[in-house]
């Protein structure tokens, strides 16, 4: 039971540290971290599925849904409150995922990956062609308000950062509890051998559908934050290369540690920003090489590195 109690403690500690760091960060670094955390949320969703042995190559779908919900709601109804927008993003993603989840739950491996990818590409094609929603140019997103508080400039960046950190920590804590729950453990068992799980009486399809809906909600939340942070959304959010990056973060972090997901996301974002800055023409090249090196050197992801360190500490 001590573990269940330690999760809230760890969450509060993590949030305090993150906010303290945020107060010291320059504006660009704050934006970078906000974006990295937003994308980390999507990757966390993929990790949920990865625990059951599935990889979604189309989480851009929910990232995009979240981003467009925040953009469209602000433009159409004037809602700019970030809590309300997040809630709407969750609802939209949950509805879409509830439709596709049970369907997708019968697919495995590469077929699951390709079907999710095709769903996200359908949304991409749809958004690119719909001029009401801005077509390929996308649309601008109004600055968010926080329960009536309407900051500007640096204060806005900071407020968004704190909001993001809170969401990340709360979601991370909840997911940790889920991972250690019966459902979360069944997911791990599915990864090992799904037929045995069926024989033992658990429903593999339900389990996967649940993980999928959760991944969708996390992706959508990430999208809401990213849309508001950039102030602009476009169909690229749903493009396959965007989804590819999320998968990269998930693989980079492994499926053991939740903190590792966000660390990997920050690492990727930093590598990207710096290679953008120093090798403006070959940043993809440096990113690709970075990716290959990571896969070669860290077969089980950054998470395995963290848990190895932990184990070493415990044994010494």
């Amino acid at each position: 039971m001590s573990f269940a109690r330690s999760v809230p403690v760890a969450c509060v500690l993590a949030l305090a540290v993150l906010v303290a760091i945020g107060l010291m960060l320059p504006e660009w670094a704050m934006f970078l971290t906000t974006m990295a955390f937003a994308k980390g949320m999507v990757a966390l969703g993929i990790v949920c599925l990865m625990r059951a042995g599935l990889v979604s190559f189309g989480q851009g779908l929910y990232f995009c849904i979240g981003a467009y919900v925040s953009g469209l709601m602000a433009n159409w109804t004037g809602i700019t409150d970030i809590f309300l927008l997040s809630a709407l993003g969750i609802v939209a993603a949950a509805i879409v995922a509830a439709v596709f989840g049970p369907l997708l739950a019968t697919y495995r491996g590469i077929f699951f990956a390709m079907l999710t990818l095709s769903l996200s590409m359908i949304l991409y094609g749809f958004l690119s062609k719909l001029s009401v929603l801005g077509g390929t140019d996308g649309l601008n997103v109004m600055a968010p308000t926080f329960l009536g508080y309407a900051p500007e400039g640096r204060a806005l960046g900071l407020a968004l950062y704190v909001f993001t950190c809170t969401i990340v920590v709360v979601a991370g804590g909840l997911i940790r509890v889920f991972f250690d729950s019966e459902h979360g453990l069944i997911a791990l068992a599915i990864r090992d051998n799904e037929l045995r799980v069926e024989y033992l009486g658990a429903s593999v399809r339900n389990e996967i559908a649940i993980s999928y809906v959760m991944a969708a909600i996390l992706g959508s939340l990430g999208g809401v934050i990213a849309g508001l942070a950039i102030g602009h959304v476009d169909p690229e959010f749903s493009y396959w290369t965007t989804s590819g990056e999320f998968v990269f973060v998930a693989i980079l972090s492994g499926y053991v540690s939740i903190g590792a997901v966000f660390i990997s996301s920050v690492v990727l974002e930093v590598v990207r920003s710096f290679s953008n800055l120093y090798f403006p023409n070959t940043w993809q090249l440096s990113l690709g090489i970075f990716l290959l090196v990571v896969i070669l050197l860290l077969p089980n992801g950054l998470g395995s590195l963290l848990s190895r360190l932990k184990r070493k500490k415990r044994s010494s």
Binding site: T106, Y107, F111, I251
Partner: protein, 300 residues
């Protein structure tokens, strides 16, 4: 009725192109069990190589015999395959064969990122135009419409490629060895098949087919950065529809998608961008393994 004929002809032309572009992908998946995300980049490199080769051909006085530019195009694709194929397979992919499926997909994603920039480094970002081969064969009159004869050349090449691949796999000794490896890698290794070599040759063939697709496309478009990004997803759709690893499936899938797209262009232009994925999602819902995939026994 006329509209139907247009849809059919357009669909066949597009389908033929799709087949050439995607057959390499399905071959590599069938033999090596790798879903190659860099396939689109190899296609783009093939297009660039062909553009350079054709440019060089005419610069060196090829005007006297312009049809030779086709040879130059194919030569460009062959060079790409012979250089990049062994390099990627022996130098990189080989190290990941015992790793998870998804990891290899991600590795090819890394290769895709790298190749995208390598192309910019080699050929720059200004678009290349080599339209000479496209107009060489003149036009064909079909009813009230004119088609560029080159489009029908693409159909011919697609049929030729399909036949050659099918014949090699099913009617030659080496092809049957490849089929054996597809069927059971370990067993064929025990029987004395040099699986490493089968892998490399198949991968090189896959790269050649991708590059050939690009080379054939180069005269029809302006060759510029980013042409490969879309192609890969379309090729995936075709291959998935047909059933991963099935050559016949890729052919059927290509015609299917080609006609669906042509129909959408003529009847509902707004849907053109996502009709392919819609078809793919539709097929997968009813035939999860694609049209031509044999069901496999689950291992406990």
């Amino acid at each position: 009725m006329e509209l139907l004929a247009y849809i059919l002809v357009d669909g066949l032309i597009y389908g033929a192109w799709l087949f050439i572009v995607s057959v390499g992908l399905t071959l590599v998946f069938g033999v090596l069990n790798i879903l190659n995300l860099a396939h689109g980049s190899l296609y783009a490199i093939g297009a660039y190589a062909a553009a350079s080769a054709v440019g060089a051909y005419f610069a060196l006085g090829g005007d006297a015999f312009p049809l030779g530019s086709y040879v130059a195009m194919i030569g460009g694709a062959a060079i790409v395959a012979l250089v990049l194929g062994p390099l990627l397979e022996r130098g990189l992919l080989r190290h990941f064969y015992d790793r998870d499926h998804v990891i290899i997909v991600l590795v090819t994603y890394g290769v895709f990122l790298i190749l995208e920039d390598v192309m910019k480094l080699i050929w720059g970002v200004t678009p290349l135009f080599v339209s000479e081969p496209y107009s060489l064969l003149g036009n064909v009159e079909l009813g009230p419409l004119y088609y560029v004869a080159y489009d029908f050349l693409v159909i011919a090449v697609a049929i030729l490629v399909g036949l050659v691949v099918w014949f090699t796999l099913n009617r030659t000794r080496r092809g049957k060895v490849v089929l054996a490896v597809i069927h059971d890698r370990e067993m064929s290794q025990t029987m004395g098949v040099n699986v490493d070599r089968v892998f490399m040759v198949s991968f090189v063939a896959g790269v050649f087919l991708a590059a050939l697709g690009g080379a054939l496309t180069a005269p029809m478009i302006s060759v510029s950065p980013g042409i490969g990004v879309n192609v890969i997803i379309i090729a995936f759709a075709v291959v998935i529809i047909g059933g991963l690893g099935s050559i016949e499936g890729a052919a059927i899938g290509a015609v299917f998608v080609g006609i669906a797209r042509a129909a959408s262009v003529h009847l509902l232009p707004e849907a053109e961008l996502f009709i392919i994925y819609l078809v793919m999602a539709g097929v997968l819902v009813f035939r999860p393994e694609g049209l031509f995939q044999k069901t496999q026994a689950r291992k406990i």
